[in-house]
């Protein structure tokens, strides 16, 4: 926003001060995350910039922490676990969540408010309480410390996001399209896959991404429900931070930041596509 010509000196001072403050806050938001990227190439096992790094000498930098990460058995297992659990939980929560959102969007649905409240409760209840409850329950039915237990727990935590995003997509959904398809002789299943699904797909995918990231980033439930065999990346980072904090964590963090940048891009593209499909101009 350009400065209007009628601004007094005081206005001008405020105009610039305000911008300085804002950029300081943006700096506060981004700097901690970005600073880990150069530090992860540190040749020394410190969490600060060494003199060599500051003077940009090549011997100050190394890939040793990445090598450490890639050659570590437990880190590799945690990556495998994170993806296995994340994908299984996402499939489960996306399927159940999409079906439920379709049901909830029907005007005949009874007790909508109550059911919606129950379905999104995993998002509201503090994680420590969910984790404690699941820990007691899963131990009593002997699925604590199994993949099944962690997947079920993560699926439950992920479903609210799927329900919310898909319901939001269905708000702008033109139901005369499905009626038209039925009128032209398509079976309900065919109508769903040929008409409904392509239109709500952006919502389903972004819901699935949210569910995946929820599982991928989840640690509290993993701490309580998972055993050593099911340790995920955040669980491994947790031990890393608590027990022996080494710059390997920074290498992992850098990789995770890159993954989140990629996910952020995908979600943003999907949002724009969804708005375009529904005839809104992308914002």
């Amino acid at each position: 926003m350009a400065m209007p010509a009628y601004y007094t000196t005081k206005d001008k001072v405020w105009h610039y001060t305000f911008r300085v403050i804002c950029f300081a806050i943006f700096f506060f938001l981004l700097a901690p995350i970005l600073i880990m990227i150069p530090l992860s190439f540190n040749a020394a096992p410190f969490f600060t910039f060494t003199r060599e790094m500051l003077t940009l000498q090549p011997e100050g930098f190394s890939l040793r922490w990445y090598q450490d990460f890639l050659s570590s058995e437990s880190w590799m297992r945690s990556i495998r676990n994170s993806f296995i659990i994340g994908i299984a939980a996402t499939l489960l929560s996306t399927t159940l969540g999409t079906l439920a959102a379709l049901g909830l969007s029907k005007s005949e649905m009874p007790a909508k408010g109550l059911i919606m409240g129950i379905l999104i409760s995993p998002m509201i209840v503090p994680l420590i309480i969910s984790a404690a409850g699941m820990f007691f329950f899963f131990s009593s039915i002997k699925i604590a410390q199994t993949y099944l237990g962690v997947v079920l727990a993560h699926a439950a935590l992920g479903t609210p996001f799927v329900v919310i995003t898909v319901t939001a997509t269905l708000v702008g959904f033109d139901h005369s399209l499905t009626r038209a398809a039925a009128n032209l002789g398509a079976s309900p299943t065919r109508t769903f896959f040929k008409i409904t699904m392509p239109l709500i797909l952006p919502g389903v995918i972004s819901g699935a991404l949210f569910a995946f990231i929820t599982s991928f980033d989840e640690i509290v439930v993993v701490l309580f429900v998972a055993g050593v065999e099911q340790r995920t990346i955040p669980r491994e980072m947790w031990s890393g931070i608590r027990e022996d904090i080494s710059p390997t964590i920074l290498a992992v963090a850098t990789i995770l930041v890159l993954i989140s940048v990629a996910l952020l891009t995908v979600v943003e593209l999907l949002r724009r596509r969804g708005e375009r499909l529904r005839g809104m101009t992308p914002g």
């Binding site: 926003m1 804002c22 079906l99 129950i118 379905l119 503090p126 972004s206 990231i213 980072m237 989140s260």
Partner: protein
Amino acid sequence: MAQADATLMDTGGPAAKRGGTEKLVTADGVPLKRALERAQRRRKLVALGLVGPLLLFILTVFVFPIAQMMWLSVSNPQVVNALPRTLEALQDWDGRDLPPEPVYAALHADMVEDLERERRDRLTGPLGIRLNYEISAARSAISRTARQVDSFEAPFKDAFMDAHRLWGQPELWRVIKREGRPLTTSYYVAALDREFDEFGNIVQRDENRRIYVSLFGRTLMLSVIITAMTFLLGFPIAYYMSILPMRHANLLMICVLLPFWTSLLVRTSAWIVLLQQQGVINSGLVGLGIIDDANRISMIYNMTGTIIAMTHILLPFMVLPLYSVMRTIPPSYMRAAKSLGATPSTAFRRVYFPQTLPGIGAGGVLVFIISIGYYITPALVGGQSGRMISNEIARHIQQSLNWGLAAALGTMLLVGVLALYWLYNRLVGADSLKLG
């Protein structure tokens, strides 16, 4: 379902036009009213059938476990199961001096019978653990007695008192009598830093044993501070983004969304890297000669660490609702206020700010709800002074194994959060929860 719909549309239309005198029927001769009802019912069933699987899933995997955990906070089967005869004999006991010999005889009978069970089914183990929550050393009293009880001979009173001194103290008997009921309030009493005195009244604990009330207080205080900080930092940038053209605003939005999408542990470890004594900020300050090497500032593993890291982590939750509200405020209102003679600060205070209140309410309650139950960040960067109630719950589940107390603390936290969420819903409606 869709087919029935189509039939109705074919025949219902013209039929409705003909007026209400003759009986309306669908093409296959069924009265329209009944056909409509049937179609409605079928649609309702379809809707329920779609929601059903998820509802069932959430109820079993999520709602039921939490209800079960809440049940743990009042459930009290240990004494009742292990000592049925003793409890019956204790009924007439006045609770002052030691109980008479028949009570000890009943205790002997109960414990001997328990020995005949298989080892894993024995009830004295849970009994000892349960009584130990109330009196430390009760567990060792029970287990030591259980090892010897087989050889006890009358009079049992002396035999028990020889086995462990606690059996000669009325306090233990008072606890057994008080907890000899299937439901108990004692976990909640303990969670409120209170205890039973010798007359069964609830009194405050000694000052040095009060933990939880002040911990709840600290959790609330930290959540208020964090909410206030996110507001102070979030308001200016949300406002700035809302007055920029969309293209630039979206660019800045990435700065807000990137932390939002970055792993929680990455963000927490980033603050450890920055704030610790050998970290980037301290080393930078030493390098610049601002502080001595010996006087590095401790900014982490205390309350400051928790506040800084959690403000950073929760800031996006404040900015996103604020921004979406501010975008909808027409700039012409401010211009109108100024042209009517308001100074910029009056215009902001009286015209702009009140319109942002829904966003402030939404963001504030959201941040507050999340921070009040936060576990990971306080556990990693909070040290002793930055601990919150969640950390205490986790400690009781994993280390001290007092699950009843953990459940009582958890239930209190849950009720608080649900009340706040209800308030949030009243303020803004759950539908407005926006993601990214």
